[in-house]
């Protein structure tokens, strides 16, 4: 009898150990889901060893036009925390989140940046002064949004009037960043609220018109992304606060170096340098670094080119003695090749804008991607 009881005790003990250790082990690593490769890389940088990152749209995948699979819905349902870019970049994600029934908080990492309104791409250069204006005004909007979200539409007209006062030069932007980051910390105390805001925010964007979502082309914005990710991870997993803060700090330092590197490279380009590429995903880059881009396709990969834009680009290349054009990783290169052939300039390589390359490619991480792009541009257009 004794013998048998021993065995039972032993078994029960084993089961207890099993039962208690297993969930603990599972909880140890935060299960994060990121919508596409760039966000996935950033979450991985901040999360480090404590976070398992699953990316829905992998390397070289187009986040604009993704069609999710049930496996993606399952990943969301099993996720502890979900990161998306926001600004309607991933048009498919909200419905997928709703249908997956996930309870995980959803963080729109681009929420706290100064979004650029998505105007007609062809008029980008003429509009430049305007987009500065709009810039300040958006920021205001953001602030209001947090306070009284129902009124955001009315506020809008208001902001527009006020907006002359807000018209800051670019140097202030970075202060603003710091500011919004503080705001974020406040919000994070009650996480449910934050999530709620997200949803409202998307609605607001949608009703409002569109913002250009490709904000990661400005390294300054990515610092804000990283701060959002850090704060969200800390709120979700307070035990890892030190790790997340340290990782984020180290990564932001790397980003600062990258930012300086890009500025130096742009300064080294000839006066009036113009980067012509397939799809206009670089407006934040232009805004931050002052390097002009032009493209036959607009900010979305889903539009079709017009003969007028193609003709205009060919004439621009000829008139300004531009030495090279660039393909873009997610866009069919045939159009830019046709332009290059007709204008008699080479296609100097492939820029990565909306998705990373596979890890062994030239743009396996966000920082590598930005480095790859700027060095390609320097080689192609430099003297």
């Amino acid at each position: 009898m004794l013998h048998r009881r021993n065995i039972i005790t032993l078994l029960a003990g084993t089961m207890l150990v099993g039962a208690s250790s297993f969930p603990a082990f599972a909880q140890e690593r935060v299960q994060a889901v990121a919508t596409f490769s760039i966000i996935g890389d950033l979450v991985g940088q901040v999360g480090g060893e404590r976070v398992d990152v699953t990316t829905l749209v992998g390397p070289d995948g187009d986040g604009h036009v993704y069609s999710p699979s049930p496996a993606d819905a399952r990943r969301l349902a099993e996720a502890g925390i979900i990161f998306k870019n926001g600004l309607l970049y991933e048009g498919w994600i909200d419905r997928l989140i709703a249908s997956s029934g996930t309870q995980a908080p959803v963080i729109a990492v681009a929420e706290n940046i100064d979004a650029i309104p998505d105007g007609g791409h062809a008029d980008d250069h003429d509009d430049h002064g305007h987009s500065h204006d709009d810039h300040g005004h958006d920021h205001d909007d953001h602030g209001h949004d947090h306070d009284d979200h129902g009124h955001s539409h009315d506020d809008h007209g208001h902001d527009h009037d006020d907006h002359g006062h807000d018209h800051d030069d670019h140097g202030h932007d970075h202060d603003d960043h710091g500011h919004s980051h503080d705001d974020h910390d406040h919000d994070d105390h009650d996480h449910d609220d934050h999530d709620h805001d997200d949803h409202g925010h998307d609605h607001h964007d949608h009703a409002h018109g569109e913002f250009d979502p490709h904000a990661w082309q400005d390294v300054g914005n990515v610092k804000v992304y990283v701060a959002s990710i850090r704060d969200a991870l800390i709120a979700h997993d307070p035990d890892g606060a030190d790790v997340y803060s340290a990782n984020a700090e180290a990564y932001i330092a790397e980003l600062a170096a990258l930012d300086a590197e890009i500025r130096a490279a742009v300064a080294g380009l000839p006066e009036g340098a113009l980067v012509i590429t397939s799809h206009d995903a670089f407006r934040y880059f232009t805004h931050a670094y002052g390097l002009a881009f032009d493209a036959p396709l607009g900010t979305s990969t889903e539009v079709e080119a017009t003969a007028r834009d193609v003709a205009r680009l060919i004439e621009t290349i000829r008139a300004n003695d531009i030495r090279a054009v660039f393909a873009e990783s997610l866009t069919d290169a045939r159009l830019i090749e046709q332009i290059a052939r007709e204008a008699d300039v080479p296609v100097a390589g492939t820029l990565y804008s909306d998705a990373l390359s596979p890890p062994d490619g030239p743009a396996g991480t966000y920082i590598d991607m930005m480095r790859h792009n700027i060095s390609l541009i320097s080689e192609g257009l430099g003297s």
């Binding site: 036009v65 699979s69 062809a122 079709e304 080119a305 017009t306 193609v310 003709a311 069919d332 045939r334």
Partner: protein, 290 residues
């Protein structure tokens, strides 16, 4: 001279406009007659169904050769022809009519295509890759389109009598000759061929439009098959040129602009056409009263 500049200038000035025009004209040459015969066979929606049927072929081509255009085009062509042949055979030898058998096979094909794409886990929109752009026709694409148009015209010339007769009286044709079924299959092959060429040239599913809209337009102007073919080809060519000019002068996307012009031609014919155009039909027919 200003008119001349507006109409001809862009094509003189830019190589890509000349290529686009050439592609559109050649496409109209092949797709026009095919569209007329589709319409006369009451298969006007076949083109749309076929457009979806080519997906699994393109997907297999992608799996084998990656983002290689020839492989995907060939795969799409194969899948389209298989679906066309299978549905044609089922129509001829079972109780199922053309529309039902085609619907069955194209849906099967589409489902297979989506499955293959998903299994590979890729999010790349394969249809996007399969499509070219009318503004980016390189030599390979032009050769493909021109080759397709040539093959189409040759086969049409060789089978013209039979095709016309089958439209008019398929029972009679079957009673005097045994070529009805093979003829039907060859014709369906031509449909697929021209669709794939159209995707290349126009870069959108709208390619079906350059097949069907000129055919429907032509029907309002003539009851004679040969006249209809000529009118359809002319309408298609004018739509191609008009659409490109619209795209050039007014900044409209090129592929849709071409189809829009064809659609406008259709609407005008719908009202003004000699054969049962709405306005003509509404007028009292005095000559019958006498």
């Amino acid at each position: 001279m200003i008119v001349f500049d507006a109409l001809i200038g862009p094509f003189i000035q830019f190589d890509f406009m000349r290529r686009a025009l050439f592609g559109a004209l050649v496409l109209a040459l092949g797709a026009g007659p095919v569209g007329v015969f589709l319409m006369l066979r009451r298969m006007s929606l076949t083109g749309d169904a076929m457009a979806h049927a080519i997906l699994p072929g393109a997907a297999v081509g992608f799996l084998i050769a990656g983002l290689s255009l020839p492989a995907m085009t060939l795969g799409g062509l194969t899948a389209g022809i298989v679906v066309a042949v299978l549905s044609g055979l089922v129509t001829r030898y079972t109780v199922l009519k053309e529309d039902a058998s085609l619907a069955a096979f194209y849906l099967l094909s589409l489902a297979l295509g989506v499955t293959i794409v998903s299994l590979r886990g890729s999010s790349v929109d394969l249809m996007h890759v399969l499509f070219g752009s009318v503004l980016a026709l390189d030599d390979a694409a032009l050769i493909l389109i021109a080759g397709i148009a040539s093959v189409t015209l040759l086969i049409l010339a060789a089978t013209y009598r039979g095709l016309v007769m089958e439209c008019v009286d398929p029972v009679y044709l079957r009673s005097v000759a045994r070529i009805g079924t093979p003829l039907h299959l060859v014709f369906l092959g031509l449909v697929v061929l021209n669709l794939v060429g159209g995707f290349q040239a126009l870069g959108t599913l709208l390619a079906v439009g350059l097949m069907m809209l000129p055919a429907a337009t032509a029907r309002f102007w003539s009851a004679d098959v040969t006249m209809m073919v000529i009118i359809a080809v002319a309408t298609g060519m004018l739509s191609g040129m008009g659409g490109l000019l619209l795209s050039y002068h007014h900044g409209l996307p090129a592929g849709p602009a071409i189809i829009l012009v064809a659609g406008i031609a259709y609407l005008i014919s719908l009202f003004l056409g000699r054969e049962s155009g709405l306005i003509r039909a509404a007028l009292p027919r005095r000559h019958l009263e006498a």
